[in-house]
Amino acid sequence: MNYEYLVIFLPLVASIISGFFGKYLGSRNSEIITSLFVSISAIFSFLIFYKVLNENYANNLNIFTWIDSGTLNVNWSIKIDALSSVMLVVVTLVSFLVHIYSIGYMSHDPNKQRFMSYLSLFTFSMLILVTSDNFLQLFFGWEGVGLCSYFLIGFWFKKESANAAAIKAFVVNRVGDFGFALGIFLIFYLFGTVNYNEVFELIPNILDKELSFIGLNINAINLICILLFIGAMGKSAQIFLHTWLPDAMEGPTPVSALIHAATMVTAGVFLVVRCSPIYEYSPFALNIITIVGMSTAFFAATVALVQDDIKKIIAYSTCSQLGYMFFAAGVGAYNVAMFHLFTHAFFKALLFLGSGSVIHSFRNEQNINLMGGVWKKLPYTWTLMIIGTLALTGFPFLSGFYSKDAIIEFAYLSGNTTGYLAAGIGIFTALLTSIYSWRLLFKTFHGSYNNKNLNIISMHESPMIMIIPLIILAIGAVFSGYLFKDLFIGLESSTNFWKNSILFLEPLNHDHPPVWIIILTPILVILSIPTAYYFFIKNKEITNDIVNGNLPLYKFLKNKWYFDELYDYLFVNPSKKIGLYFWKKIDLKFIDRFGPDGISNLVKYISSITVKFQNGFIYHYAFVMLLGFSALLTFLILK
């Protein structure tokens, strides 16, 4: 028996049990079954990871044929290598913790079974995604997680805003998938297969192949890379396709932690890393990825500075951190991207679940201006949030410190202009990250208590079932960087661990960057803590003055660079208007009017004329007959 089957299918079984039989089992049993099954899945994931680590384990199982049409042959499969084993651990571990946490968080919700079922189904889809050995199954998992995300964002279906956000998430992702699907078509067109290994082997044969498209000649590999990256941008909420992620915070907070921070949104990064054997041959696409990544990192951080919704701040922070991962991949440091993905899963899930605990205590209040001064009331949450914040901002020796600084260093070491620029933006964004994170923390827990609806005496800490998962994540947030840095990004990591799951055409530059690069970020990060305290707690007037002095800029950031308004103006409203025009004007006023209705009216009109002849008077008939007869006669004579 292969453990892989257990890892992947237990969550599916759990989902089916809870979804279809939940009402007979009762909510508590459903919670136990789903959590238990996912925990078994997590244990075996660790086992697989351990085997990959120590025994060079790798496996590629074929379950059964999916599609067989002409030369297209696709199997349901499970591929285990270093890359997928890391993802297995991240996905199942975070998922398990979120399952446990949800038992506490959703305790007042009437639809617990449905919720747990969705969570498990999501876990299954994500596992299918990461263990695929071909692009089509990847796409299946890709859409599957998108679907679960849609279900979970719209979980509170009575809220109009939640429904809108769910649809927005699905449709925006579809725009990305549109690029992704075209990329798969192109791969199939060029290679006649969609299997990773076969495609990756054939890539070096087509280095110079050009495709002509509406008069343009485009390098085939560049085109594949760009198309796949469009898909990655959608899923990982990169700039231009990021608009769904902040709205997705309408979903319950455990969902935000699992799907919109730790796992699903990192699928795009995973895709790029998985396709490193293609991306390595396309410096052009890598440059684009770097640029998009750093723009997103910067853009999202600026927006996060001024938001008031605790979850939206963390959502933009996620967006920004995903940008870091992408530009790490863009400078060719795929393993560093994976490292940041790994550490980020811990501290970001921690921050989200922590904020969930805060929201829980504040009876669903999410505005940080209506919080404050409760750190003594929520000691565990407060401590754990601080750990998460320190890890996120890259405070020395916590996990974010190792991964984020490595990204900046490798960007710097890549030695080209984009690399330097990315490193610069990386450092500046790290500062912004630190400021908005501490702003969030201080405004939530310190200063004066600002909520008029709730008495501060009624504030109480969340139950242990919610705190324990946080503690486990906090341990990860503190130690995962230090413990795994050698394995993931050490000098020998490529040969010892990643092996052929990541291709490096040239080994990564392991020179030492100048000392100021290494110490600059930590110094900025540490200095920003008292600065943030001063600006957001001690002396709020200064902050208000700054805001009032730069009102246009403030509004620009507050409204998220007006992306939503722009898209409504450019795409949503015109689509509706055009649809209405096609329907009312062309279908009804033109096609129908001149088509079927026109013909039948014409027939009616003509018959209304001819009918006048048939009036029953013999002399009329005789006259018409005479006319006809003479006409015929004339014709015959003339002929």
Binding site: V171, G579, F582
Partner: protein
């Protein structure tokens, strides 16, 4: 001679219809005639499955051939099937019993006559998919018009007469040209036997005109833009069972016709008219998707989405690639399942609320949770989500199209985005949100019959999404051979013109 299984499939429903028609009308006849119709149509479904079991997918030869002289030396009754046709026969035989079950709630008057119409319809539709003589094909193809016309015209909604005539006018107009073409083929080649015509081919100088004549008929039936405006009206007015037959089977006759006749008989013209087909299909996909977005009537929305989905089918057929053609057939079967499921779902809520306007709904998930689940599956099928049958068809088609033209594939893929938008928005407005109307608070969830009908559609939609092999295997060899013959014909023509 072997047991004439195809003729039995064609005749059995008609015999049942005759029996029902002449059965005495006692007080309990309604029930008896319904069970009789159900029995007959279900027996036919079992028979079609047996046919599938007997069918040999490893050859592209026509199987189960039957030939009888009808008008001596002129028309032969000739039927037979290959991988292309068999799936449509099974689909027809599968959908009809579901329609019969669904009449329970929907048909209030003249139930007996309605059942007769449906059963005759089944005979004619199965006849279309197995006839191997052009005249016989034409008779079945046009014969289907009459019961459909009656179904819409007698049991339809308020504007039923207008819709029925519009339907009749459009389809008849196209078909008359096809009749002329069939007669011309007889004059040119001296035969209307399809297999014989395949072997001798049609002179290339006539092909373009003949192709256009056939096209005019199939384009109306598909329907392709701009000949699609009859479909929304027909669907809106037709009773549920009528809509189901219309969407699931009648539209597929055109796709089948394109493969069997346009490509099979007129390969050179087919190649010549590819740009026209691509253009019309793309317009259909984008245009009708946008129109669907703005519909206020559920049935109209689904009707418009049908036009878009059939746009994919025509695209796929005219790629002349394995993926494209297999995808098209798969898409037709899948759309047959998904669209009938959607129309049946609309029927379910219409029975309770007596309105099809989307704005009158909202919040159904609270009162009809089971309905919400099955409708979600159908919605996802219509969106083409991986794991549903809708995905396999669309994806294979787009793969095939991509080989022919990047630009066409890109534009067609836009339809996939729009489909997600209009279907999810529809779902949201019906199922989610707060309950605003008092009637909705009192709604009952699916009863056993409804649950049975809808879940028997859920199953194949999901099953074939994960395991499409049974269908793809069945069509594979026939399609392969079709493409080879097609390419050989093109080459021969190329050499001749040189």
């Amino acid at each position: 001679m072997d047991f004439p299984i195809l003729s039995s499939l064609i005749l059995l429903p008609t015999l049942g219809a005759i029996f029902i028609f002449f059965s005495k009308s006692k007080s309990n006849t309604y029930l008896t005639s319904k069970y009789l119709a159900l029995f007959v149509s279900f027996a036919n479904f079992i028979l079609s499955l047996y046919l599938w079991y007997l069918f040999d997918p490893s050859t592209s030869e026509f199987q189960f051939l039957e030939e009888r002289s009808w008008i001596k030396g002129f028309i032969n009754y000739k039927v037979g099937i290959d991988g292309v046709s068999i799936l449509f026969i099974i689909l027809t035989a599968f959908i009809t019993p579901l329609c019969v079950i669904s009449v329970n709630n929907t048909i209030k008057t003249r139930l007996k006559d309605f059942l007769v119409a449906i059963l005759i319809m089944e005979s004619l539709m199965i006849g279309v998919f197995c006839s191997l003589d052009l005249v016989i094909f034409y008779l079945f193809f046009e014969g289907g018009l009459i019961p459909m016309f009656l179904i819409i015209g007698i049991w339809g909604g308020e504007k039923r007469v207008y819709s029925a005539f519009k339907f009749f006018l459009y389809t008849l107009l196209g078909s008359v040209l096809m009749l002329v073409a069939i007669i011309s083929i007889y004059w040119i080649t001296g035969t209307t036997d399809v297999i014989y015509l395949y072997s001798i081919g049609v002179d290339s100088k006539y092909q373009n005109l003949l192709w256009l004549a056939f096209f005019s008929s199939f384009a109306v039936k598909t329907p392709m833009w701009p000949l699609h405006t009859w479909l929304p009206d027909a669907h809106v007015e037709a009773p549920t069972a009528g809509s189901v037959l219309l969407a699931a089977i009648l539209l597929k006759m055109a796709g089948y016709g394109f493969i069997r006749f346009s490509i099979g008989l007129f390969p050179i013209a087919s190649e010549y008219f590819v740009p026209l087909i691509y253009f019309l299909s793309l317009v259909a996909i984008v245009y009708t998707s946008l129109v669907a977005l703005m519909q206020e009537d559920m049935k109209k929305l689904i009707a418009y989405s049908s036009v878009a989905h059939m746009g994919f089918v025509t695209l796929g057929i005219f790629t002349f690639t394995q993926q494209g053609l297999e995808g098209s057939i798969f898409q037709m079967i899948s759309h047959g399942l998904v669209s009938s499921a959607l129309f049946l779902s609309v029927g379910v809520v219409y029975e309770r609320m007596h309105t099809r306007l989307i704005d009158n709904y909202g919040g159904l998930v609270s009162t009809m949770p089971n309905f919400a689940v099955v409708l979600m599956v159908f919605t996802l099928g219509a969106i083409g989500l991986p794991g549903t049958s809708g995905f396999i068809g669309e994806f294979l088609i787009l793969m095939g199209v991509f080989k022919k033209s990047f630009l066409v594939a890109i534009i067609a893929s836009l339809g996939v985005i729009l489909a997600a938008a209009y279907m999810l928005w529809l779902y949201k407005r019906i199922i989610f949100g707060k309950i605003l109307k008092n009637e909705i608070k009192k709604l009952l969830d699916l009863n056993k019959t409804e649950l049975f009908i809808l879940s028997s559609l859920v199953f194949p939609i999901i099953f074939f999404g994960f395991y499409p092999e049974p269908l793809l295997n069945t069509v594979e060899v026939s399609i392969k051979d079709l493409i080879e013959t097609y390419n050989v014909n093109l080459k021969i023509n190329l050499m001749e013109t040189k």
